[in-house]
Symmetry: C2
Subunit: 336 residues, 2 copies
Amino acid sequence: MPSIRDVAAAAGVSYQTVSRVLNESPRVRPETRAAVLTAIEQLGFRPSRAARALSLGRAPGITVVTSNTVLYGYAATLQGIEEAARAEGMAVGVRVVESAEPAEVKQAADYVGDPSAGGVVVIAFDPIGVAVLEALPDHVPAVAAAEPAAPERGRVAIALDERRAAADATRHLLALGHRTVHHVAIPSEGGSGGRLAGWRDALGQAGADIPEVLGCGWDIASAYAAGRRLAADPDVTAILCGNDDIAQGVRRALYDAGKDVPGDVSIVGFDDIPGSAYSTPALTTVRMDFVGLGRACFRAAVAELGRQEQPRPALVPPSLVVRESTAPPPGPRTAT
Amino acid sequence: MPSIRDVAAAAGVSYQTVSRVLNESPRVRPETRAAVLTAIEQLGFRPSRAARALSLGRAPGITVVTSNTVLYGYAATLQGIEEAARAEGMAVGVRVVESAEPAEVKQAADYVGDPSAGGVVVIAFDPIGVAVLEALPDHVPAVAAAEPAAPERGRVAIALDERRAAADATRHLLALGHRTVHHVAIPSEGGSGGRLAGWRDALGQAGADIPEVLGCGWDIASAYAAGRRLAADPDVTAILCGNDDIAQGVRRALYDAGKDVPGDVSIVGFDDIPGSAYSTPALTTVRMDFVGLGRACFRAAVAELGRQEQPRPALVPPSLVVRESTAPPPGPRTAT
DNA sequence: CTCGCAAATGTGACCGGTCACATCGTCCAG
DNA sequence: CTGGACGATGTGACCGGTCACATTTGCGAG
């Protein structure tokens, strides 16, 4: 591997001049620059990221801390970050934190505390991410992809408008004539600014009952279990599900209990994962721009890294996608 | 940030001794070690990854090169790699390559050519990954998560037994009485050792017709289009789909064309993504151990990095999961 | 013609680890 | 009692970049 000194020797200049060319300093004569560039080309020289990182004291990269890489919302956010980072020539690292256990959270915090981790984006959709955020030393240039709920003490946090998304979805169901809307919540809804709050908002504004929330995990099996419980209650005619996967589990539970969607019960999901348009019934859901969120987080993290002013994030607002899984409640009730 | 020299001063030893403690050298007296450890603790010292990488000439990490991070097979493989790497205290980087365009492939190859990328795992499920693999300089310690098809010239390649998986699925359909099995293929099946080959094997062994393959993209929309074409052909009673998402698109196309699954047409997917058990009909599919594949690739990449002998990968073989989307062909035909 | 200033380029030190080798001390065998 | 071997530790150089500052060169003004 040729180094900057080899290039300098080949081009007949000093290593510092090569460094200037690499960093696009204007203080280099065009002919000199050309000579250096030629030498770089001939030797196949690539600057060492490790050396640069050591010298600069920080790495030109972003590390994403997340509790999961497979679930759609997480994976799509990661995709947005990666795309944006790659466009800027920056490296992307991934660090998964599987539980909110103090030891594991601390380890992750130490890990990203190293300058070579570069900027940090914590995906704080769930309690694990929030725990990491709180354990982060102040000097770490980190931003959060978060719920709007959590005003992370001093940290920049960017969020999709989940509150509005949930309210829109709930109003859609209410407008169809449902007396109230039940809710199966995913682990991420801790905050008051999130889906849970939007659902309550809409229900409250309409003067509708606010039923007890059914919590479930990220796994569809627990969504199925929640669905079976809901299916047993004849008063349930509309269900807002924490995300599209949950909706699928709930739908199947209703089906197995002999309830038709949307004939007997309407359901709405969240996220608009690719398959949702092709299930039967096609799922009514709220599209969330996770990729855009990822991009915005990347820009914010870079700004944080350079101690520049934060750019205004331009996020695509959530949009309700009405498909086949929602309809007016069954006859007897509407007739009332 | 305290450095190794600060720790040395605090402990009253030389920096080299601190280095020895960090690297668990046996040549240090227990009391000295204890003193150093105490100093490390007090100062909150963390060794710099960048400095270590520079000095060692390689980084203790793995970079994953992939064309996608959201699709299940890719995301799950990444998860396996990350889990294994984290357990060993190694960093994980991600580099997405969006197309097989030479410029982009070359950029990615350059990127992982830097020693600070550490070991490399190329997810070569598709032509993009294969292109990256071929563009990689020889000195890069890389392994491939690949189709069994591609005997990557000199590179270690680990693969799930997709050929057998496809053959199992096809035989299952044949055993139900279908005269032949149609196939909707994803972009990844180029190789002769993959799903395509297994399907052909089973069909050939049974003396069944080998219908024309319908190619489609990763997007469900193209699967839907393929499904519509298949639905128009009354001879089609069984379809092997390239993966579970594709199967969902095909299923919906059949549904929209008035065909019942599995009453009129049986379908089988691949991968067993979490939702497949909860769709209606629940999808018969072949479970693939992508997480295990990821773990095996990690181990192989580490071995490659240390120029050690390759461990024997222990992979969980694919397993057919029979659910509701497969049944004997419609009456008239079986009666024949 | 000479001085001064700015542009272009070179030199030394440093970032924080590791390697190779030197040094010091101790214990045991001859 | 002394030489040698070995265990414990220290010293200098190095990895490949960057920064701060020194030096050289070129040009216009006085």
